[in-house]
């Protein structure tokens, strides 16, 4: 066991765990976060996804010792000032989830994608999301929600630009 300092959703947290512990179990069991979930423990399905340094990271295969000091964002950290992230809003507007268990991974993977490429083509969405699995097969709605969110983000950005110009 060792003390490990983490930055999660803007807060500093210290945990006393085996440094080899996968980040997922620390987030869930020590920090009481419910967004990232165990799906495979192999980095194959994406249910455990968090964002670190702009990258979608599979927390089930990332030892906690390797992410000390890095800013970790989980599903709980996406909303700002009580307002849902456009992706979360799009997920509600499109009524995406069925059981919803995988949707953490879908939303977090989509966020990492849109942060890098705000205007993805349909093919880019499908490729970028290809390894994030859903067993209720909500893929069709997920893709619609990503496109809806991309539009909302672009339109918000245009709005803020015009304010700056004005």
């Amino acid at each position: 066991m060792a003390n490990i300092a983490l930055r999660v959703n803007g807060q500093s947290r210290t945990v006393d765990v085996d440094p080899a512990t996968p980040l997922l179990y620390v987030l869930r069991n020590d920090l009481d976060l419910k967004g990232p979930r165990f799906g495979c423990g192999l980095g194959q399905c994406g249910a455990c996804t968090v964002i670190i340094k702009g990258e979608a990271v599979r927390s089930c295969v990332r030892p906690v010792s390797t992410v000390q000091g890095a800013e970790i964002t989980t599903l709980e950290g996406l909303s700002q000032n009580g307002k849902l992230h456009p992706l979360q809003q799009a997920w509600i507007d499109e009524q995406v989830p069925a059981c919803g268990f995988c949707q953490n991974g879908q939303i977090m993977s989509a966020k990492a994608m849109l942060d890098k490429n705000p205007t993805p083509t349909d093919a880019q969405i499908r490729q970028s999301m290809a390894t994030t699995l859903c067993r209720c097969m909500t893929y069709y709605r997920i893709q619609a929600a990503i496109k809806r969110a991309a539009k909302a983000i672009a339109s918000a950005r245009r709005g803020s630009n015009s304010e700056v110009i004005a």
Partner: protein, 771 residues
Amino acid sequence: MTTRRDFLKASGYLVVGIGAAGLVSEMPLVAQGGGAGPYPDVDFKQLDSWIVIKADNTATFFVGKTDLGQGTGTAFRQIMSDELDMPYERTSCVMGSTDVSVDQGGSGGSDALQTDGYPMRRVAAEARRVLLEMASNRFSVPVTALTVSEGVISVTADPSKKVTYGELVGGKKFNVALTGNNINATTGVAKLKDVQQLKATGQSMPRYDVPAKVDGSLTWAVDVKVPGMVHARNVRPPMAGAKLVSVDESSVRGMPGFVKVVTKGNYVAVVCEREEQAINAARQLKVNWDKPAAAPFPTSENLFTYMRGAAPTSSAPPAVVGNPDAAFKSAAKVIEADYDVPYQGHVSIGPAHALADPSNGQMTIYSNDMKSYGLRDGVAEFLQLPRDRVRVVWMEGPQAYGRTAADDAGFEAAFLAKEIGRPVRVQWMRNEETAWDTKGPAFAVKLRGALDAQGNLVAFDYDARVADYNHLGYNEHDTVLISQLMGTRPAMPARGSGATPNEMYAIANRRMTSSVVSLPLIWETPLRTGNLRDPNGPQSTFASESFIDELAAAANADPVEFRLRLLTAATDDDSGFKRARSIACIKAAADAFKWEARPSAKRVGSGEILTGRGIAYTYRSQTVVAQIAEVEVNRRTGHVWVKRMVCAHDCGLVINPEALRRTLEGGMLHSVSRTLHEEVQFDTEKVTSVDWASYPTMRHTDTPESIEIVIVNGDPNPKRPDLPHYGAGETVCKPTLAAIANAIFDATGVRLRRVPFRDARVLAALKTAKV
């Protein structure tokens, strides 16, 4: 809008587990009258068991169903708020926890609205009637002089005289007895409304469970924490049928957080204080197993040869119409074909899990098992506890779609909690889930069809061999995996069942038979079968609806026209109603697709991508589905993309159209996955499908470009006041496999008779046919 949290605060029900030490901040309801137990059955003959109205004029509905993410909870609120005359927004729904809701069996059979919706409507109507009587007494006018709207009752002649439901009964009990011989028959004396009077019903209310699923705030069954809990991991036999010789506890005793190794029979689990410690200890534990003398099963490659050669363990009596033998003899053309569907898994995205808490001399199990009441009953028998000392708190979880390992995990957690005397959380690992979860049975089907000289189908013979011996029930104390491994078993394994097609074709001469075959190993096998989303329909419908297409092609007929011809026969019986609705669905699908009538296959194109379209249709328990798939087949790689899908669906009265559409999309795509990817593979010792690489499923890249759902109401009198709400959810899974196979045939002229249509299999078939 009332949230469950508001309800909990306002109604004085106990909320446990609030605290700093990582305990969940909101737990489901604890028993009415206190959480410590015992937990007697909730009395279905009391109105108060179903509906609670609070002083703030909101209503909470308690129902014994579970919602697997298809919006049934939202639908229950819609139908019950309508009958109660309470605005939908002022209602909430509590589901599936055995100590607070009547036992409606949890989920299964797509019957949530078809069956359970009726007692829900009747008790809500009864509550409205009782409230009107209360208002009648208060205002000293007859009920007929009252008007009720949105939870407010007023005197029709003097609307200033009014009272809310909350003012009449809020915080108090109805104390009204209901009648009925069983829960499904529960009723008061009030009559149901005509469907034309329903307001929320038929509207696409957004599902109330969605926001908390996208902002991370929902507490799922996987999230529950209770003081003093420990973590367990199972250690499964490395070969099916292996016997435990010895466990070397010293191999893990010194590991951090180690609590205990528990063994009984061939069941082995390791318990540690922390989750990652349990995972590590389970991996490190040295266990000595004895390999079984005989191979437990053939390889997955040899499965169908084995099934065709095995002596059946049972055969269903043949269903015979007319004289098929004579019709085959005198036919102008007879064709035959064999169809194969391998074992396929539920393969939940979140492996099985449960937390069992033995505090207070009771056993509380937090679980997402869709049949929470069955889990309670089974665990009580398994642990030989009085039933009222066991309760299951149902919480959201990963999809189930049938008899999954969620059943098994609940028993394991309860067993370990009793052994250790502490709360135990069991979590299956991915390899365990994929290999050991129950399987949908494999089918080997032989079909024969006879055409007359005019191309009419005059005889049809369907004979299925189904690897389904010892099919597991739900939550049986002597068939769950832990009891099998411990050597507790029923005297006789379940017989299992085959399945024959469900459609309404009028075929003058028909024989349908099905037999069950057994694999060598019957117990303690990872190839144990259990219900998987319309347990046998996708398999039998793949065979029959593909073969109908073969017959249409042999008759040089358009596949839609050929089916319609089979449905336009006699209409003077109950089948007439079913045929009329079947015809309406097939026509609706063809119209939406802009189906161009011509026989399949079309002339094979010259490019790399070949395109085609195929239709399939089915009927189940009064629900009709017709689907059309458009595919692209890459002749260089064998890759199949289902580019477009159209689904026409008739399930009678629709409660929530948008929630229905999503349920149908998900069900269809689940079957796309089963068509293109899914197959449980095994060698002669073990299942070798153990993760998402060795059990591939549909991915984002497979998603159709377009999915169109056409909601049909093919009832001959669609405006009837008692229009029934039939079931949805499973029927839609059935025709997809054949629709895709038929589209591939249309595109390539190649008939694929064994799923899944993975690239290599398709490419080999194209090469053999020189396409």
